[in-house]
C-alpha cells in the first residue's frame, strides 16, 4: 500500500443536478505527481466531478480533501488560491481580450509582477504560436491555439493540481497529439493532473491510473495499463 498522502481525496461524493442524480458515491484519489484519468461516456458525470472540485457546483454530500484540507466550504475563486487550476471544457478563453491579457488574468491570484512576466515569457517560449499572436484577441485563434492558451493560462496560477476537461475535444488529430505531448511535458515537470477524456485510448496511454465513470458511478478503477487491456473497457470505450 501507499504511504504517501493523496493530494486530492474525494470520498462518497453525491451531486444532484436539477433533481437528477449526477454523481453517486464517487470516491477517488489523486496522488502527488500522478496523471489520473477519468473516462466514460457523454453525461456519465466526468465534467460534474471536475466542476465539483472547482466548487462551481455544490455537492449534495460527501467530502473533498485537498492536501488534507476540506474544500467543502470554499468558493470557486478560493480553490484557485490553494493551487487547483481547471482548464474547462470547450477551452473558454476570454475571446474579447488579447492572448497576453488572458495569460495575465491567469495569474490573477498572484502579486509577484516580476515572476509573472517571467512566466509569461516562459510560456511564450513553450508555445511559440501564442507568442506570435500575443496581441491578437483570443477569439481569433484556432481551436488548438485556444486550447494551448487555456492550458498556459491555467498554469499561470502555478497550480499543484491541474484539472483538464476534454482537452482534445473538437481538435484535429495532429493537434490532439500536440496537446498530449504538452500534458506529458507538464507531468514530467511535476504537475499533478486529473484528466477527463472521451478519447479513452489516448488518455489511458498517457495516464498512470484510471477510473471509469458510468451513469454517475465509478464502475472500474486501476492502473491505466490494465484498464487499457481490460475486455469490458475495450468493448465499451476503446472501440
Amino acid at each position: 500500500m501507499r504511504t504517501v498522502q493523496p493530494l486530492l481525496d474525494i470520498q462518497k461524493l453525491f451531486v444532484n443536478y436539477d433533481g437528477i442524480q449526477a454523481l453517486e458515491d464517487v470516491t477517488l484519489a489523486v496522488y502527488p505527481g500522478e496523471i489520473v484519468t477519468l473516462i466514460g461516456a457523454n453525461g456519465a458525470g466526468k465534467s460534474t466531478t471536475l466542476r465539483s472540485i472547482s466548487r462551481l457546483i455544490k455537492p449534495h454530500s460527501g467530502e473533498m480533501l485537498y492536501g488534507g484540507r476540506s474544500l467543502s466550504h470554499l468558493r470557486a475563486h478560493e480553490v484557485v488560491r490553494l493551487g487547483i487550476a481547471q482548464v474547462p471544457e470547450g477551452r473558454r478563453v476570454l475571446t474579447r481580450q488579447s492572448v497576453f491579457d488572458n495569460l495575465l488574468l491567469g495569474a490573477y491570484t498572484r502579486n509577484d509582477t516580476h515572476a509573472i512576466a517571467e512566466d509569461i515569457d516562459r510560456h511564450f517560449t513553450t508555445f511559440p504560436r501564442l507568442a506570435e499572436r500575443r496581441n491578437q484577441l483570443a477569439g481569433t485563434l484556432s481551436g488548438g491555439e485556444q486550447q494551448m492558451l487555456a492550458i498556459a493560462r491555467a498554469l499561470m496560477s502555478r497550480p499543484k493540481l491541474l484539472l483538464l476537461d476534454e482537452p482534445s475535444l473538437g481538435l484535429a488529430p495532429i493537434m490532439v497529439q500536440e496537446i498530449f505531448t504538452i500534458i506529458q511535458r507538464l507531468h514530467a515537470s511535476g504537475v499533478t493532473i486529473l484528466l477527463v477524456e472521451q478519447n479513452a485510448t489516448l488518455a489511458l496511454k498517457y495516464a498512470d491510473r484510471g477510473y471509469v465513470l458510468e451513469a454517475g458511478r465509478i464502475t472500474m478503477s486501476g492502473p491505466a495499463s490494465s484498464l487499457l487491456t481490460d475486455e469490458r473497457v475495450k468493448q465499451a470505450y476503446l472501440g
Binding site: V80, A85, Q86, L94, T95, L104, L105
Partner: protein, 295 residues
C-alpha cells in the same frame, strides 16, 4: 453622464438597472441634505435639516458615495439572489424596477414631492455663463453645463482606462464575458460586481447632484424622467460602450435642442424617436462594431 453609470452595469452584467434612476435622485437629495438645506412642508422630515453645512462640491462627492453605498445594498438584495439562482435577466429588470419604485416612494414619504433648489451659486464665484461667441455674436453657455460636460468626460476617461488597462478592470471584463471562467481564474466575482455597483451608484449620484444644480431637484420622480432618456442614450451609444454613452448623450442633447420652442413639450418624443430609429438602423450603436459571431 447619467448614462455612464447605466452603461457600466450593463456592460458587465448585461442587466438594465432601472434602480439607477432612483439612485440618481438619491444622489441629488443626499447632496441637498448635506449642504444643510432644510426640507419642505410635507413628509416626515418636514422643516428639518442636517446640522452640517458642506460646500456644494464636497456635499456632491459625499452624496455620491452614499448613493454608491445604496447601490451596493441594492445589488445584495435585488440582484445577487437572482444571479445565484441563474434566473432570467428579465427578472432582474423587473426586480430593479421594483427597487426604483420603492426608493421613489420612500423619498416622497420622507421629504414630500416639492421641488428643491440648491443654495445659490453652488460653484462659488464662477460666472453663471461663459460666452463662446465672437464679437457681437454671443453664444452663452451656462457654467453648470460646462462643469457637467467636463466631469462626464473625465469620468469616462478614467473608467475607460480602468477597464482596459488595470488588472481589476481586466478581471471585470473577464466577468462580463464569462463569469464562470473568471471564477476559475481565481477572480472573486461577487466582490468585483459589488465594486461595479458602487462605482455606478457613485457616478449616478454625482450626476444627480450636478444636474440638480443645473435645473432643480424636481421631486422624487426627478431621476425617472432622466432614466428613460438615459436608456435612449445608452442604446444610441451602443449598449455597454462607455465612450459611446457620452457621444450618445451629446447627440441626444443636440437633437432635443433642435426641437422648436413651440413644440418643447415633445422633447421626450424626440428622444424616443431617436431611440427607435437607432434600433432600426444601427443596433450596435454609433461607435459600435457588429458583434463578432463565432461559429
Amino acid at each position: 453622464m447619467f448614462a455612464v453609470g447605466y452603461t457600466l452595469i450593463f456592460s458587465i452584467l448585461r442587466i438594465i438597472n432601472f434602480a439607477h434612476a432612483a439612485i440618481f435622485t438619491l444622489g441629488a437629495y443626499f447632496t441637498y441634505a448635506l449642504t444643510g438645506s432644510a426640507f419642505g412642508y410635507n413628509g416626515l422630515l418636514k422643516n428639518s435639516a442636517l446640522p452640517i453645512h458642506l460646500p456644494f462640491l464636497l456635499a456632491a462627492v459625499v452624496g455620491a458615495m452614499l448613493a454608491g453605498l445604496v447601490a451596493i445594498v441594492i445589488e445584495r438584495l435585488a440582484f445577487r439572489p437572482l444571479r445565484n439562482r441563474g434566473a432570467d435577466p428579465l427578472l432582474s429588470l423587473v426586480s430593479s424596477l421594483g427597487v426604483a419604485v420603492v426608493i421613489v416612494n420612500v423619498i416622497q414619504y420622507l421629504v414630500g414631492a416639492e421641488n428643491y433648489s440648491y443654495p445659490a451659486q453652488p460653484y462659488g464665484n464662477l460666472p453663471t455663463a461663459i460666452n463662446f461667441g465672437l464679437g457681437s455674436q454671443r453664444i452663452p453657455v451656462r457654467t453648470v453645463q460646462i462643469v457637467i460636460f467636463g466631469v462626464s468626460v473625465v469620468i469616462m476617461l478614467l473608467l475607460t482606462y480602468w477597464l482596459n488597462r488595470t488588472k481589476t478592470g481586466k478581471a471585470l471584463r473577464a466577468i462580463a464575458e464569462d463569469a464562470t471562467t473568471a471564477s476559475l481564474l481565481g477572480i472573486n466575482t461577487d466582490q468585483l460586481i459589488l465594486l461595479t455597483f458602487f462605482l455606478s451608484g457613485m457616478v449616478g449620484g454625482l450626476s444627480g447632484a450636478l444636474i440638480g444644480s443645473s435645473v432643480s431637484i424636481a421631486g422624487p420622480y426627478f431621476g425617472i424622467s432622466f432614466g428613460l432618456r438615459g436608456l435612449a442614450v445608452i442604446v444610441l451609444g451602443g449598449l455597454g460602450d462607455i465612450p459611446g454613452a457620452i457621444v450618445g448623450g451629446v447627440v441626444l442633447g443636440l437633437a432635443e435642442a433642435f426641437v422648436p420652442v413651440q413644440y418643447i413639450a415633445y422633447k421626450d418624443a424626440v428622444a424616443f424617436a431617436v431611440l427607435f430609429l437607432m434600433l432600426l438602423l444601427r443596433p450596435q450603436g454609433l461607435l459600435g462594431r457588429a458583434e463578432l459571431q463565432k461559429v
